[in-house]
């Protein structure tokens, strides 16, 4: 009976132990079920970051200037790949991998935490991509993937203004998961950089089921947060005009800015030579980049916004208006040009050695008589010239929503004292009066000045399309005075004796007249010794010593709508290299005017030909 007793005792112990097991099961599966359910979900599900689709950049008619295209690529998760070298060897059997690429991949993998995928190959063709796709299940940690990559269909024509995107730097990326996402790029220059916030959008997340080896088993889109694409950005630029202007100036180191004189919309903003922004997106090679940097024509430099030049004779209208508005000259009043003028103990020469004879304001503008404007400058004084220049938009950089737009320079006494600690001299007033000396303006400044002269409105340049923009207020110039200047500027092109009459002769569109003004900024003074040695003209000088040529113009002359300013570096006098491209761009704008179906007065509806 001892056996039975002890058996029962033992059984009782057994029941207690089984009770403990049941209690444990109860604790795990009932009391703590919720906690373990969460941990199980944590195991089972992952959230993958879905980068947002970058907003497109469109021209004023909706034509894409920057868009996204699919890029077939291969990612490697170093943690899952294990031996990265072996993985790359096997991948290399399918797609050639250069030593440089290999080095880059290994470096990227070393820098990133092991769980973060590294872009191994990008922009594969379909054949190579499908080969990798087929073998991927055997290659641990290798993920074939399709991603969007930025594409600039118009290439170099827009390179400066649109800019480009590039992978963020280490500092840029910080601890942002989006910025560290493989292949993600941010705006690095131009509009892409300036409007990054608008274009970027919001990352989404994709819920996926993963197994213990980290491989994605299935996707659960219904439980995911979709990405919010970046907003499309409408620019005021006209892709056609921009491309035309770029082509027209190809071969030169030049800039062109075209503007709507009533709205301030920038229609073209060109700097030549350009570069292919697509190269920067996928990673430009060191040699290609070096070649761009070493190019004498400075393709990486945006001359339209960052190049500053003396406005030269294009400034004479401002000097003239300064005198007219102050009542210091009458319209018909003449000044006699003998080819030079003596002020104090200095002689100031007119560009025409023989002089222009008796010239009034209209004639002086038409013939660009220096002596007349020396006289006007002397009468008005530097302060009036300075104020008038500012009213026409010169001086501070116009805010067009891009970084790096350079300030111009409109000097006065105060400025000179601050800058050089010296007083202002009368001679400097004279030189300023013909647009030389300390004066500096970018092609953008010149375009704004021309647009304000043309419309009489204080238009500000706009790069981003704004359909609710208000018409700019008037500059406040006596319409009669403006009329007089307009007349002179029209005569420059259309009347014999006008500085551009011979070279241009007109706009080339029936029934439409244009107005313009040449300018040439001296880079190098031809000395008497050189003159004696036979250097007679600009053509005899080496390229980099020749004058900068510039031309500003608008059309139609009687009802201005478009203004164009061009600067051709070392292009010689303004009527030579700069005038024809400027006129041609202006003609393009007139010929392709969206409101051409009706009179020019009709407002731009925003659709070409509409």
């Amino acid at each position: 009976m001892k056996f039975t007793r002890r058996s029962l005792l033992l059984s009782a112990g057994g029941v207690v132990v089984f009770g403990a097991l049941a209690a444990r099961l109860y604790t795990l599966q009932i009391l703590q079920a919720e906690r373990y359910r969460l941990m199980s979900d944590d195991n089972q599900f992952n959230f993958l970051l879905v980068p947002p689709s970058r907003g497109r950049i469109l021209d004023r008619f909706g034509e894409p200037l920057a868009e996204n295209r699919d890029s077939y690529r291969v990612l490697i998760v170093p943690e899952q790949a294990g031996d990265l070298d072996a993985t790359l060897d096997r991948l290399g059997e399918l797609v050639p991998i250069s030593d440089r690429e290999r080095e880059r991949i290994l470096t990227a993998a070393r820098r990133a935490p092991g769980f973060r995928p590294v872009t191994a190959l990008e922009d594969l063709d379909w054949g190579a991509f499908s080969a990798v796709n087929l073998r991927a299940p055997d290659l641990a940690g290798v993920i074939p993937n399709v991603a969007e990559i930025r594409h600039y269909p118009s290439g170099p024509a827009f390179s400066h203004v649109i800019g480009y995107v590039q992978p963020p730097t280490e500092e840029d990326a910080g601890d942002s998961a989006l910025l560290r996402h493989p292949g993600f790029r941010i705006g690095r220059a131009g509009v892409e950089a300036a409007r990054e916030d608008t274009l970027r959008g919001q990352a989404g997340s994709l819920k996926v089921e993963v197994n213990a080896f980290g491989r994605v088993i299935r996707e659960l889109p219904e439980q995911s947060v979709p990405q919010t694409p970046g907003e499309d950005l409408r620019l005021t630029l006209d892709a056609g005009a921009q491309s035309y202007a770029y082509e027209r100036l190809t071969g030169e180191s030049a800039a062109a800015v075209a503007m709507d004189v009533e709205t301030g919309d920038l229609l073209a903003l060109v700097s030549t030579p350009g570069f292919d922004p697509n190269l920067f997106v996928t990673g430009i090679s060191h040699t290609a980049f070096q070649a761009l940097q070493d190019n004498e024509l400075r393709p990486l430099f945006n001359k339209a916004l960052q190049g500053t030049y003396p406005p030269a004779s294009t400034f004479k209208a401002v000097t003239g208006l300064a005198a007219l508005e102050a009542g210091l000259v009458r319209e018909s009043e003449t000044v006699t040009c003998t080819g030079k003028i003596r002020v104090g103990d200095r002689e100031f020469h007119c560009w025409r050695r023989g002089g222009h004879g008796r010239v009034n304001m209209r004639e002086a503008v038409k013939t660009s008589c220096d002596v007349y404007f020396y006289e006007m400058a002397q009468r008005a004084g530097i302060d009036r010239i300075h104020d008038m220049a500012l009213r026409f938009g010169l001086g501070p950089a116009p805010d067009i929503g891009l970084a790096g737009v350079r300030d111009g320079l409109v000097p006065n006494e105060q400025w000179k004292r601050a800058r050089y600690g010296q007083g202002w001299s009368l001679g400097e007033t004279l030189i300023t009066g013909i647009g030389q000396g300390f004066l500096l303006a970018s092609p953008l400044h010149l375009a704004v000045m021309t647009a304000r002269l043309a419309s009489g409105r204080a238009v500000t340049p706009r790069l981003y399309r704004d359909d609710n923009a208000q018409l700019a207020p008037m500059v406040g110039i006596d319409p009669q005075h403006l009329e007089l200047i307009h007349d002179g500027l029209r005569a420059v092109v259309h009347e014999p004796g006008g500085t551009s009459h011979y070279s241009l002769g007109g706009l080339g569109v029936d029934g439409v007249e244009m107005a313009g003004k040449t300018g040439s900024a001296q880079v190098f003074r031809i000395t008497e010794a050189e003159r004696a040695a036979g250097v007679r003209s600009q053509d005899d000088l080496p390229w980099r010593l020749r004058d900068h040529g510039m031309f500003v113009c608008y059309a139609p002359a009687d009802r201005p709508r478009y203004a164009v300013a061009t600067v051709v570096e070392h292009g010689g006098g303004g009527s030579r290299a700069a005038a024809r491209p400027a006129r041609d761009i202006l003609r393009y704008l007139i010929e392709n005017d969206p409101s051409r179906a009706g009179p020019f007065a009709a407002r731009d509806t925003g659709t070409r030909g509409g």
């Binding site: 058996s7 097991l21 599966q29 079920a33």
Partner: protein, 381 residues
């Protein structure tokens, strides 16, 4: 009926009638649970585990019934030779054994691969049952009654521990201890042994274990300290069980198991998988099945007339119970990971056969419960 029960059936039909078919049915339910879970382990496929498990179970079932029909006298005569044979096999493992996953447990005998430690679990029970059967009651607490069982248990335990297979060694020792207790050993000696164990166990932990065994015990104490290392298995097992909740995720729907977060789910962690897919309901059902099987065994043991049968039944039942307790306790994080399967459910041939052989002895004891077996019939009598 009463008359019939008091006698020992002699005919084949008589014996067949006396088989405890309810117990057989319970064992079949456990085997079926194993087949079902192994089908799920293979993501809903019969291969590679479910079919073979079913085959082994059927073979084992037939063997069990044959064992049950054989006269207990035969088993009594076989007990010492079987013990010696098993001991020899263990020594064979020591010298010629196959090393799998760092421990020598298998011995290849022609086409079959056997695990002598599994055989020993039954052999040591039979040897002890035989010894107590022959031992006069008054000598149980004497020197012979204490030292011989200790030697019978100690020799195989040391060999198994050396393989090293801590789990099985402890199982053999625990089973032996239970039989010594059931023999009617003096409570004072039991108390002294308990004190001695309390001193010896910490020392054994310190000096007697392999590094991996020690590590397993320490990670068992704090699994969440090291979720990707040695504690990974326990943690993932608890996540699987806990996330199963009351009714489970459904057959074939266990995410932890099917996405491979759960290790060794066809063997040691099959209870976890069952808990994940069938929840608390499924887990409790399996535990209840085991408890009913054990209750049956205890009832059979107490109904037997001979000490040999009583001891054999209790010994086999104890081994069986320890399997269940250690396995489920381990996967629920109550005990260290020692690599003990869940009997009849886990995949594994030798365990299946030894367990069913053991139940053959239990069923046989029930059939022959009234048999009077002679005492002290020599070593091989």
């Amino acid at each position: 009926m009463a008359v019939f029960r008091d006698t020992v059936p002699r005919t084949f039909q008589g014996k067949l009638y006396e088989i405890n078919w309810a117990l057989v049915l319970l064992l079949c339910l456990l085997g079926a649970a194993g087949i079902g879970m192994l089908y799920s382990v293979a993501d809903g496929a019969w291969d590679p585990w479910a079919t073979r498990h079913a085959t082994r179970f059927l073979v084992g079932l037939v063997m069990m019934l044959i064992v049950a029909m054989m006269p207990p006298r035969f088993w009594m005569a076989m007990s010492y030779p079987a013990y010696l044979g098993a001991l020899a096999l263990l020594l064979g493992v020591e010298f010629f054994g196959l090393t799998i996953q760092g421990s020598q447990r298998w011995l290849e005998l022609g086409p079959i691969r056997v695990q002598p430690s599994e055989v020993m679990k039954i052999a040591v029970v039979m040897a002890l049952a035989r010894f107590y059967h022959d031992l006069p009651r008054e000598k149980v607490s004497g020197p012979t009654g204490v030292l011989v069982p200790l030697a019978l248990i100690g020799m195989p335990a040391v060999l198994i521990l050396h393989q090293p297979d801590l789990g099985t060694a402890l199982l053999v020792v625990a089973t032996g201890a239970v039989l010594i207790f059931l023999s009617g050993l003096n409570w004072r000696i039991i108390g002294a042994a308990a004190v001695a164990a309390a001193v010896a166990i910490p020392l054994g932990l310190r000096y007697g274990l392999q590094d991996y065994q020690r590590e397993r015990i320490f990670t068992f104490l704090n699994p969440e300290d090291d979720p990707m290392g040695a504690g990974y298995q326990i943690l993932q097992s608890k996540i699987a069980l806990g996330s199963g909740g009351f009714t489970g995720k459904g057959f074939l729907q266990g995410t932890q198991s099917h996405l491979n977060y759960l290790p060794e789910k066809q063997t040691d962690f099959i209870f976890t998988m069952l808990g994940e897919e069938f929840g608390f309901v499924g887990g409790i059902a399996i535990l209840l099945l085991y408890l009913i099987v054990l209750a049956n065994a205890v009832a059979i043991a107490t109904s037997c007339k001979s000490t040999f049968l009583k001891m054999t039944v209790m010994g086999v039942a104890t081994t069986f119970a320890l399997y269940v307790i250690i396995n489920t306790g381990m996967v629920m994080g109550m005990l260290p990971v020692v690599g003990v399967p869940l009997p009849l459910v886990s995949y594994g041939g030798t365990v299946m056969l030894t367990v069913l052989f053991g139940f053959g002895l239990i069923l046989g004891a029930h059939v022959h419960r009234n048999a009077e077996l002679p005492k002290g019939v020599g070593l091989f009598g």
